[in-house]
């Protein structure tokens, strides 16, 4: 198995492709074989687009034969979260309401991925419309955590994280509204990055909360995330909130970090994102990483962000409010499911209500109704209005903190992966999974999660790094330095300690 290309990082696979040692068709085939072998246990994909991927791979191989290599990741296959639209490939957002929907256009990031020569293996599972922290709210079944098949892979991007952690794909796309890239990365021992808001185009993402949503890389190494981030990032005239500036040099920052030297880098530990509610093994792993960062030359101080404890509340008003508006388009008229009422007049309004009643799952209904309530007459100022003010306070906390430190750090999630069903009947307990990741979304700042080791229960723990807006390069420098120090200590990547999945 050691000569198996699926075990290599994306950067290593790209190198073999560029040097002519393997073809893109071979890389795609190896991953399709792996998918076939482990999918019965994992269910990380909603749809595997084998033919499309092979056709793309043949094109990339033909280009290489002409001496053309379109990007540093050319030839390397990728999986895409099924909330990103793909032309001619089924896109469901893990909802019954979009079952079988074939989009007539590509998201900008999909266009960029194709132009960069990355064949798309398929569409990964998620919580319906990305609403959840465990991928248990998918209409297409649970995805299992490769570390323990009885446990959740995080959410909403559990499919992308599980696919990457289980070597079904070296790269995947995730989306992060409150932690949906970073928290699944944490509980599966993989790497995930939420870029600065506006740093990666949202055109073609099926929107949950437009002021919070951001797409980003899901990978096994920090360098792979940087390589993918540079491909999908940058200005897009189709997205009115896209930042019209060049990205910082992310790959160079990751390479600089990998030298292991962090002399002069100021790291702030967020006091409010620790202590009560954080599993002992999570805190211990976090502290061990701080020691490694200190040994690498970083200066570590404690920083207070006094309004972070209110972030979760503000988020659970702003996000459902925006979602209730964004999901109004699922009305049974132009695409997706249409259900007629069982009795009474068949009017557009009644068809819309019947369609949404039948097509949306529990969590989506819960959030739309919560958002509609928060925006309704008499409640707007107290709920949505107050939440927007709290958002300002959180942004000010970040601004004040970044006057004294270069990056902020915390555990990514308060616990390791929990068992299926454990939190399904308690929405509030489920929402608490995102307590450490949500502040970044409210402020638009970038964040990364990388594995910091195993907790006392033998499950992976995530280490989160947050940087000021548009300073995504700092995530990669500090992240790569920590990754290097940890792998030196472990003698290899954390994922090599994951149990081997049974292969059919």
């Amino acid at each position: 198995m050691t000569s198996d290309v699926t075990r290599l990082s994306a950067a290593e696979q790209a190198k073999l492709f560029a040097s002519g040692e393997v073809s893109s068709v071979e890389l795609v085939t190896a991953h399709l074989d792996r998918i076939e072998a482990v999918e019965p246990q994992l269910n990380a994909f909603i749809h595997v687009s084998a033919e499309v991927a092979l056709e793309q791979a043949r094109q990339v191989d033909a280009q290489r034969a002409q001496g053309e290599i379109s990007s540093p990741l050319a030839g390397v296959p990728i999986a895409v979260k099924d909330i990103v639209v793909t032309k001619d490939v089924v896109t469901t957002a893990a909802s019954k309401i979009l079952e079988g929907w074939v989009p007539p256009y590509d998201a900008t990031i999909v266009e960029k991925i194709k132009a960069a020569g990355l064949p798309i293996l398929g569409k990964t599972n998620l919580d319906e419309f990305a609403m959840g922290s465990s991928t248990e709210h998918s209409a297409y079944g649970n995805t299992a955590n490769p570390w323990d098949l009885e446990r959740i892979p995080g959410g909403s991007g559990g499919g992308s994280a599980a696919a990457v952690a289980a070597f079904e794909a070296p790269l995947a796309i995730g989306t992060d509204t409150g932690g949906s890239i970073r928290q699944p990365a944490a509980v599966t021992g993989s790497v995930g990055v939420k870029p600065t808001y506006g740093g990666v185009s949202r055109y073609g993402l099926i929107a949950m909360a437009s002021s919070l949503d951001q797409a980003g890389p899901v990978t096994r190494t920090v360098l792979d995330s940087a390589l993918l981030h540079e491909i999908i990032g940058g200005y897009d005239p189709h997205d009115s909130t896209s930042i019209n500036e060049p990205l910082p040099s992310l790959v160079a920052a990751a390479q600089q970090g990998a030298t292991g030297d962090l002399t002069g880098v100021r790291i702030g530990v967020v006091r409010e994102l620790s202590g009560e509610g954080y599993q002992v093994g999570v805190s211990k792993s976090f502290e061990e990483s701080l020691d490694l960062l200190r040994a690498a030359g970083a200066e570590i101080t404690e920083v207070s962000c006094p309004h972070f404890p209110s972030a979760l509340s503000a988020y659970y008003l702003i996000m459902p409010s925006e979602a209730s508006s964004n999901l109004a388009k699922f009305d049974g008229m132009r695409f997706g499911l249409r259900v007629e009422p069982e009795d009474g007049p068949v009017t557009a309004e009644r068809v819309m209500s019947a369609t949404r009643g039948a097509g949306f799952g529990d969590e989506v209904k819960r959030r739309i109704i919560l958002g509609t309530y928060a925006l309704s007459a008499g409640y707007y100022d107290a709920y949505y209005g107050s939440a927007q003010k709290v958002r300002t306070l959180i942004q000010r906390d970040f601004t004040a903190a970044f006057e004294n430190v270069d990056v902020l750090v915390s555990p990514t999630a308060p616990t390791t992966a929990f068992k299926f069903g454990e939190k399904l009947d308690d929405p509030l307990a489920m929402y608490l999974n995102d307590v450490a990741t949500i502040p970044a979304n409210l402020a638009g700042v970038p964040g990364i999660s990388l594995p910091s080791g195993l907790s006392d229960d033998g499950l992976p723990v995530g280490f989160q790094i947050l940087a000021p807006a548009k300073a995504d390069d700092r995530l990669y420098r500090v992240g790569a330095a920590l990754e290097k120090a940890l792998e030196n200590k472990w003698g290899g990547p954390l994922l090599s300690q994951a149990p081997e999945l049974e292969v059919k």
């Binding site: 808001y197 008229m333 695409f335 109704i369 939440a387 958002r391």
Partner: protein, 105 residues
Amino acid sequence: MKQRKLVGMSTISEDEVARVAALARIDLRPDEITRLAGELDVIVESVAQVSAVAGDAPATSHPLPISNVFRADEPAPALPVAAALGAAPQAEDGRFAVPQILGEE
């Protein structure tokens, strides 16, 4: 502006859930209404703390300061009609076919 009292008040009755679900155009079964009333009550009571924290800070609707931009007024290809209608539940004569819009008897 008048505000309803929020914290510590059981605000979400089953009637309220039914009213809001109607606004949101979602048909709910009676058991869903009962369950949602209980769940939303707990959630709303928890998130209502924002009104105590907010103070007189200005509201932020967007993570980064941006100003409106206009693109150049240049013709660009649009989605072909067949592609736009391709996923519609029902289409006729190059248009979306929908149920009657007005609800009068």
